[in-house]
């Protein structure tokens, strides 16, 4: 299982990357953790690979007001390690689930989002947080919100001549809490089903977003504020996690029924995936709510 021959180029600037991308049959290689297996199995035979790892600008990981900007060459392990990335706790919660440490050493954050595997964690994080994808070509730049970015299994709004140059994640605000969980047959495998949750609490309101992955061809985001509020009506606004979990458990099966949209496979039937989503959603929404309440009372925001 060896890749077919390809031309190789490693430009030093974004301008050169996008110029190369305008050649037919070109593909970006970032960490190669999804692309190399595709090439090895000859499922893909690009005529040219453009290695983006020598572009200093694409290696940047920076904080800009309320945003964390993650360049296309930033590795997944870098996001786990660098202090600056703690400002996006949901990404930090999701990363340990992305493959194994050996994969995260090389795999990039943007590469995972560009690859858009339906079972992948980082696309779900991007969807749940409403991240923004920055796409560049020779003639300009456009920004695509997560809601419009994932168009199908392994398909995104990226055009063949476009580079995903960075992903912009919103930094966690005061009153926000997060939850992340998934079920896989072995740690590090792609999830049979998983959820990412963001809860925002303030005196006036409680809002909750649930993004499910592994259960449809794109990450599916639903507003579960109503379900959370109903549960809180029964438990009061300062419940223990266990109490909130059992109150929520009554509401999540309906949500799961709506989001699970697969025919099932040899690993799990749609019904089993619904059960997983329902259980994971109750667990992670309650976790997110409790941590949102904590962050609300914190002196300074993150």
């Amino acid at each position: 299982m060896k890749a077919a021959p390809f031309a190789y180029v490693r430009p030093g600037t974004v301008a050169d990357v996008v110029a190369e991308l305008s050649r037919d049959g070109s593909k970006v290689i970032a960490g190669g953790q999804s692309l190399v297996p595709v090439l090895a199995m000859r499922l893909g035979r690009p005529t040219q690979l453009i290695d983006i790892n020598a572009v200093p600008e694409l290696g940047e990981l920076s904080r800009d007001g309320g945003s964390l900007r993650v360049g296309a060459a930033v590795r997944q392990r870098q996001l786990q390690r660098e202090e600056i990335a703690a400002a996006v706790p949901l990404a930090r919660m999701a990363l340990p689930w992305v493959g194994h440490r050996e994969i995260r050493s090389r795999g990039t954050v943007c590469g995972s989002i560009a690859h858009a595997d339906p079972s992948a964690e980082l696309p779900a994080v991007a969807a749940c947080l409403g991240a923004t994808m920055v796409l560049r070509t020779g003639h300009g730049t456009r920004q695509v919100p997560a809601a419009d970015f994932f168009t199908g299994a392994l398909s995104t709004a990226i055009e063949p001549d476009e580079l995903l140059s960075e992903v912009i994640f919103p930094v966690a605000k005061r009153g926000e809490g997060f939850g992340f969980g998934e079920f896989a047959r072995r740690h590090g495998d792609f999830a049979l089903a998983g959820v990412a949750v963001r809860v925002h609490t303030s005196e006036a309101s409680v809002e909750a977003r649930l993004t499910c992955f592994g259960v449809s061809d794109v990450p599916v985001t639903v507003d579960v504020s109503q379900q959370l509020r109903s549960a809180l009506q029964r438990t009061g606004s300062d419940p223990s996690r266990a109490d909130l979990l059992s109150a929520l458990a009554d509401h999540t099966p309906d949500v799961a029924g709506d989001v699970v949209d697969t025919v099932g496979d040899s690993h799990a039937s749609p019904a089993y995936r619904r059960q997983l989503i329902s259980a994971l959603a109750a667990r992670e929404v309650s976790r997110a709510y409790v941590s949102a309440r904590l962050s609300e009372s914190e002196e300074c925001s993150r």
């Binding site: 060896k2 190789y8 190669g32 290695d51 790892n53 290696g59 050996e102």
Partner: protein, 406 residues
């Protein structure tokens, strides 16, 4: 993380130039862009410790360290790693001084067939250096990137947990990194400061003799110092020392094929060890030759790799008659034959010298023409002698009670 240098396009049928530091040795490779790091290590550099199972990232057999982080060598094109520092399992420990992780895997029976072991060692090295506080309960998930067909994992977990507990934050760095010769199975695939001389003269039949035989910097693969007691007296030995052709005939399996002038010689050497047969073509340069001392450098290449050596032989009179013939040899093995156990290679070299010394003795006494050169040294006798020696040692240790099961 260091960024690689920009690199202009190479077409699909051309080679990419790559500089890497592998286990402390700088190497230069010129290979097609589609060659993975695992293939570059195994096929171009002869470092077959990195195993290859699935070739698409699932099994973890090929795990190595890239700039200190564990990564899949089968999911990286070598071309992408220009300037990177790679550590393979060969760099982790020495045969005579294993890394604590290697030692622990052995002690806990964490390996059966050993196919997954390089992957587990490199993966757990990364884990323990980056998360020294890791708890036993987390080990199954943290080590889930490597698959084992044999052990059931319990012993592997025990082995890693043991080192985690005894080395919290104090895990020794890889202990076998340094400058050495790396030359692969495909001739002239790699060159580097350490390997340039090897590459330039490892051609089957070097047309010209080189200016000098450059030995790689750093520790030799094997260093032997042997003294043999000859019955012949020093004057008789001096006669053999003075006749290079006679001397060559004393060397088991060696044959002088050409005299290149100025004390340069071309020759062949055949060694057979059980099922392994190696035929080295090479050259030798006598740097110093006197009645009681010879200093020479030699290099040879076989399809499976190469050897470079510096040999100093001295003859000294012994009280009560006879001569002490001493050899001091530093041998650098490259390629496949370097994968030979260091100690086995050392034993074989030692026995070859002993056979040589006996032949010198015979030649010196004029008793008979040495015949070592006319046939390969008895494969059987070499291997046999080596094994018999080992069995003797083993029995001796058993008898003295030194050797005990852990």
């Amino acid at each position: 993380m260091n960024l690689p240098q920009p690199y202009a396009r190479t077409e699909a049928d051309q080679a990419v130039e790559v500089n890497l530091t592998i286990n402390g040795t700088e190497v230069h490779l010129s290979l097609p862009a589609r060659v993975t790091l695992s293939d570059a290590l195994r096929d171009h550099l002869g470092l077959t410790g990195t195993h290859v199972g699935c070739e698409h990232g699932i099994c973890g057999m090929c795990t190595v360290l890239v700039d200190g982080d564990a990564a899949r060598a089968c999911l990286l094109f070598a071309a992408q790693l220009d300037g990177a520092e790679i550590t393979t399992v060969e760099g982790l420990g020495r045969q005579d001084e294993l890394h604590p992780l290697q030692e622990s895997f052995g002690r806990h029976h964490g390996l059966q067939c050993g196919f997954c072991t390089p992957g587990f060692l490199m993966s757990s090295y990364d884990l323990l250096t980056h998360e020294p506080g890791v708890q036993r309960d987390d080990l199954p998930a943290e080590l889930s990137g490597v698959l084992c067909r044999c052990t059931g994992y319990r012993n592997i977990i025990d082995a890693v947990d043991d080192v985690a507990q005894t080395h919290r934050g104090t895990l020794p760095a890889p202990g076998n990194c340094g400058k050495r010769a790396l030359v692969g199975r495909t001739a002239a695939a790699a060159t580097g400061p350490a390997a340039i001389s090897a590459e330039s003269t490892f051609d089957e039949e070097p047309a010209e003799r080189p200016q000098e035989i450059d030995l790689p910097a750093g520790d030799p693969t094997i260093h032997i110092e042997v003294t043999s007691r000859l019955d012949s007296n020093p004057t008789e030995v001096a006669r053999v020392f003075g006749d290079i052709r006679l001397l060559a005939r004393c060397l088991p399996g060696a044959e002088l094929t050409d005299e290149l002038g100025a004390d340069w010689y071309r020759g062949r050497a055949r060694i057979a060890l059980g099922p392994m047969r190696m035929a080295f073509n090479g050259i030798a340069h006598i740097e110093e030759q006197s009645a009681d001392r010879i200093v020479m450098k030699a290099q040879g290449k076989d399809a499976g790799g190469g050897a470079l050596a510096r040999i100093i032989m001295t003859a000294a009179a012994v009280d009560g008659g006879g001569t002490a013939l001493q050899a001091d040899a530093s041998v650098f093995l490259t390629g496949r034959i370097a994968g030979f156990g260091r100690s086995l290679a050392g034993d074989v070299s030692r026995r070859m010298f002993e056979e040589f010394a006996r032949a010198v003795d015979r030649a010196a006494s004029g008793e008979e023409e040495p015949t070592a050169g006319t046939r390969p040294p008895g494969a059987i006798s070499l291997l046999f002698g080596t094994i018999v020696d080992r069995v003797r040692q083993f029995l001796r240790r058993l008898a003295s009670g030194v050797w005990r099961r852990h």
